[in-house]
């Protein structure tokens, strides 16, 4: 075979090889760019959803707490909405409270959160920390006005429930 002819054949195949490689490379780059853009958009959307979810979680926690039989006002088994029995609150608060003494159980229900009860009327009382289980330093706080019922005096006061839900 003549070497010059051999040389021409080699260049042609090399060019073809080069073309194929180039096409593949361009394809990969386009796919990579598209994927990177999609991931960026997804991440932004995901972070927005996560924030909304965290806020929703705080509200759900609020609902859970105000409807816990351990705190809710009841009269012959009938529960009053958004009402906290002052003696149940007193029994649950602090290091000797039943939430703290049974932390492992209540951790499943209340998670990483802090629950504080403020008496607003007839006079402002000192805040009662009903439950506390911290994780990290990021948290969402929600407040709910509640009725504080004294079953001995049969009287009602205004209170404010603060729930700080710790996020990741």
């Amino acid at each position: 075979m003549r070497p010059d002819l051999l040389g021409i054949d080699m260049k042609k195949s090399q060019m073809q090889l080069g073309e194929t490689m180039a096409i593949l490379l361009v394809f990969m780059v386009l796919v990579g760019l598209g994927f990177a853009f999609y991931m960026r958009v997804s991440k932004a959307s995901f972070e927005k959803d996560l924030k909304a979810q965290e806020a929703e979680l705080s509200i759900q926690k609020l609902q859970t707490i105000t409807h816990l039989p351990e705190l809710a006002c009841s009269s012959e088994g009938v529960i009053t909405d958004n009402c906290i029995d002052v003696y149940k609150a007193s029994a649950s608060a602090g290091p000797e409270g039943f939430f703290t003494k049974n932390r492992i159980y209540y951790q499943k229900i209340l998670g990483y959160s802090s629950i504080t009860l403020y008496q607003m009327s007839p006079s402002e009382g000192s805040p009662q920390v009903l439950y506390e289980s911290k994780k990290g330093s990021n948290y969402n706080v929600v407040f709910l006005p509640v009725i504080l019922h004294d079953p001995v005096e049969n009287s009602d006061y205004y209170g404010l429930l603060e729930i700080a839900t710790y996020t990741k």
Binding site: L17, M28, Q60, S90, F98, N102, P151, V152
Partner: protein, 355 residues
């Protein structure tokens, strides 16, 4: 070998590599789409359960369908010895609200599920029981003259869209299969009749099961059966229940899933665990109120007695996963009766109510 031949071979190798890369890419896209579909099903069910949980907490007695769920099989299973129960889709467990006590069949098919709640009091409000089932399951309630009243009470407390029918045991021969996806036969105060299993012979054994209820709306026992061709085979020895909400729960749960764990017993024990902590809170509250009243006063006396009853209740359920069911049920019933009487007394003497 000619250079041309080598070139052609190289080209083919490159084509194969390029083809493989494209195939892998599209396989990834398909896998992603499939996962998204599963996630969508999870999301639909999770959102529905979240909304259900909120409704229950706002005091509503729930009775609603969960519709338009993408095609999936939903499983419910409890695992011994911790009795942790979970609802799962496609092998992934959903996070259920831990305050809810859930009764559900071990397998449910979409697109429509039914959810119903009842509150359980013993004697104070303890928890909300949530019943979940599928519209694809046919419930057959078999009774006789002596269990008519209990049957009526049960029927009043079932989900409104449940696929159900009632049949007197004397008419057992008239019972026919209807090409259902699943059948649950509930024998209320009657022995499981093989006529029903025989009529459903063409169905797969795992799609047909039964429960026998012996007792009344306050307490009794339930025994589960699995169809074995044309007869019933006992799935367990019988589990005690207490209260109507537990009785209703026994209808929706089944023992088809696990040989080692009784699903119903697990959920019952979980409810007793909740009772333990709620009772603990009531003990602490009653102690504080007792200290407020003058010793020797009627109210102080009532609270001293109530603390004994609350303590008795706590003793009955302090080890809910180890104590025998019959011991716990007996203890709960006795203490609940005492507490009811003491609460009535507190009302009579204008003392703070115990619950």
């Amino acid at each position: 070998m000619k250079k041309g031949d080598v070139t052609i071979q190289f080209n083919w190798i490159l084509v194969l590599i390029a083809g493989a890369v494209i195939l892998v890419f599209f396989a990834g896209v398909i896998r992603f789409a499939s996962k998204s579909s599963e996630d969508k099903t999870n999301l639909v069910v999770l959102n529905a359960l979240g909304s259900i949980s909120s409704s229950i907490k706002s005091g509503q007695n729930l009775d609603k369908p969960i519709e338009s769920i993408p095609e999936a099989e939903i499983k419910y299973e409890c695992v011994a010895p911790s009795c942790s129960c979970s609802l799962g889709i496609g092998g992934r467990a959903l996070d259920l609200d831990p305050t809810l006590i859930v009764f559900a069949p071990s397998r449910m098919e979409t697109p429509t599920l039914l959810a119903k709640s009842l509150s359980w009091e013993s004697p104070f409000w303890v928890a909300n029981f949530l019943y979940i089932t599928s519209t694809s399951i046919r419930y057959v309630f078999v009774y006789d003259g002596s269990s008519l009243e209990l049957k009526e009470l049960i029927m009043e407390n079932l989900p409104s869209r449940l696929k159900k029918e009632e049949i007197d045991v004397a008419d057992a021969e008239k019972f026919k299969g209807k090409n259902d996806k699943g059948v649950k036969v509930v024998f209320i105060g009657v022995e499981p009749a093989d006529d029903f299993a025989s009529a459903l012979k063409s169905m797969s054994d795992e799609d047909v099961n039964a429960v026998k209820i012996s007792g009344n709306d306050r307490s009794g026992s339930v025994s589960y059966y699995q169809k074995k061709e044309d007869s019933w085979e006992p799935a367990n020895e019988g589990v005690q229940y207490i209260g109507l909400p537990s009785l209703i729960g026994s209808i929706f749960i089944d023992e088809s899933g696990s040989e080692e764990t009784s699903n119903f017993e697990c959920v019952e024990r979980k409810s007793f665990e909740t009772l333990k902590y709620v009772d603990n809170a009531h003990i602490a509250r009653a102690g504080k109120i007792r200290d407020i009243y003058d010793s020797g006063s009627s109210c102080s006396g009532i609270y001293i007695r109530s603390l004994e009853s609350l303590g008795g209740l706590y003793s009955a359920v302090k080890d809910p996963y180890k104590t025998g069911m019959d011991v716990m049920v007996q203890g709960i019933m006795q203490s609940s009766e005492s507490l009811r009487a003491e609460n009535e007394e507190a009302l009579l003497y204008s003392c703070a109510l115990i619950y």
